[in-house]
């Protein structure tokens, strides 16, 4: 019985994988939100932040591949685990509609979030794909506006002061991928100006936070750290972190829609 077998081919091993990749993806989600919030410091701040990220070069690709691998393992383990769960009970009880909740007399532990992880997760994955197509690959057909984000580069008046990695400010005309700094600020403003893009975004972020409200607490259980004495603290952490993320993420499209981002 090798280490790989014990991790990838057993129930508990896959739960570890879920917890560890989940923790990694949570880390990304937190950093991403902090990056997003730079938009409130003005166009120069977020454009500089984006230029710095892009200037990381190979490191950026290490991070991207790492995220992709984590997401792939997380989804693979989730699908595998839930298909095993379905197989483990093929005949349902007649006596009670939702036995899980009925059993619990004092408190209902099985919350809505815990029973819908696979669905919220798959919707989030679908959204993440759309979000990449929208802002990273900049597919013009799905952004809901006439403009092509591919043409959004920083011009002199929006440029920050310390843009080291890229040739900015751009005097005029078109920029070049990897050479000139991308005008993320204008892209976000234009992108979220479309109401249905913002609505989809808010719904997906809401689901992400529902997903995390259970996931952030369950990961401690799977890794063997959650007990009756630490349960309250862990649950409070999961709840607080989820709400903070929700507020942080949703503030950007709302600010755009209500005209706070000029």
């Amino acid at each position: 019985m090798s280490l790989a077998h014990n991790i990838f081919n057993t129930s508990l091993g896959r739960k570890y994988l879920m917890a560890l990749t989940g923790a990694g993806l949570f880390g990304f989600v937190v950093m991403h939100m902090l990056g997003n919030l730079t938009i409130f410091a003005g166009p120069a701040a977020i454009n500089e932040y984006a230029a710095k990220l892009h200037s990381l070069g190979p490191l950026l690709w290490v991070a991207r591949i790492g995220l992709l691998v984590m997401a792939a393992i997380h989804i693979w383990a989730a699908v595998k685990l839930s298909s095993e769960n379905k197989k483990a009970r093929q005949v349902r009880y007649e006596g009670a509609v939702e036995p899980v909740d009925v059993h619990r007399k004092n408190q209902i532990v099985s919350r809505y979030a815990s029973r819908t992880m696979i669905y919220s997760g798959l919707i989030i994955a679908a959204f993440a794909f759309y979000h990449l197509a929208h802002f990273t690959w900049k597919v013009p057909q799905i952004n809901g506006v006439v403009a092509d984000f591919e043409e959004f580069y920083v011009h002199e008046e929006d440029a920050g002061e310390n843009q080291v990695a890229f040739e900015t400010p751009l005097p005029e005309g078109k920029g070049e991928e990897g050479k000139n700094a991308v005008d993320v600020y204008r892209m976000v403003k234009t992108g979220f100006g479309v109401w249905w893009v913002s609505v989809f975004y808010v719904v997906a972020v809401g689901l992400l936070c529902v997903h995390l409200s259970h996931g952030l607490s369950a990961m401690f259980q799977s890794l063997g750290f959650k007990t009756k004495s630490t349960e309250k603290l862990i649950n409070r952490f999961a709840c607080t972190a989820s709400w903070l993320l929700f507020i942080g993420y949703v503030s950007v499209p709302l600010a755009v829609l209500f005209g706070f981002v000029k």
Binding site: M1, T10, L12, K87, G95, R104, K228
Partner: protein, 255 residues
Amino acid sequence: MSGKAMNLTLRIWRQDDAEDSGRFETHEAIDVSPDMSFLEMLDVVNEGIIADGNEPIAFDSDCREGICGTCSMVINGVPHGGQQGTTACQLHMRQFSDSDTITIEPWRATAFPVQRDLIVDRSSFDRIQQAGGFISVRTGSVPDANATPVPKEDSDLAMDAAQCIGCGACVAACKNASAMLFVAAKVSHLSLVPQGQPERERRALSMVQQMDDEGFGNCTVTGSCEAVCPKEISLDFITRMNREYGRAILKKSCS
């Protein structure tokens, strides 16, 4: 001190053998004393069925004092009937009211195939136990006091885990038909005492492996197992098993 006799309607799962598709059958339980246990009530109903020349309802029972873990039935959707820390044999009819309709089903899990009526085959639990839930060598008779010091906290915890009677209610209650609470109790129990140390890692690895091979589901921490457990085994033991397993794979791969 006996209360008023009750009349009940029972909806009971009947299944001729493992291959039969099964169906619900309705039986009337007349003049049920509130002091009867649930199984005694079924005995009385069975006498009526036999008198009518039909096949009695098959159900598992043995000690009828709540310690053997043989009785196994889901009563109104709840394994063992829903009285805290109680097996079906210790459940009394005073928990029900006159003219109630009671639905009685066998444990439902792929790893517990129904053999007949309310009887399921729980040898998957035996195989998990045989995979490592024991100590291979004789540890001798009762040692002198304090010859082998065991911290009080550890012995208390080990005893809490050892209470598990392997009835399978945790599997029956879990939405994923997961056996984690049972396996957690068995893995934790011996890992907490000195006699269990030499085989600690092997035990965790092979019992978890056997649990997976039997086709039980996975834990999603709903807590329904803990709620129905007649021995009130705590969900914390699943956390402990997760830790034991992690410790085992790290130790095994580093040695």
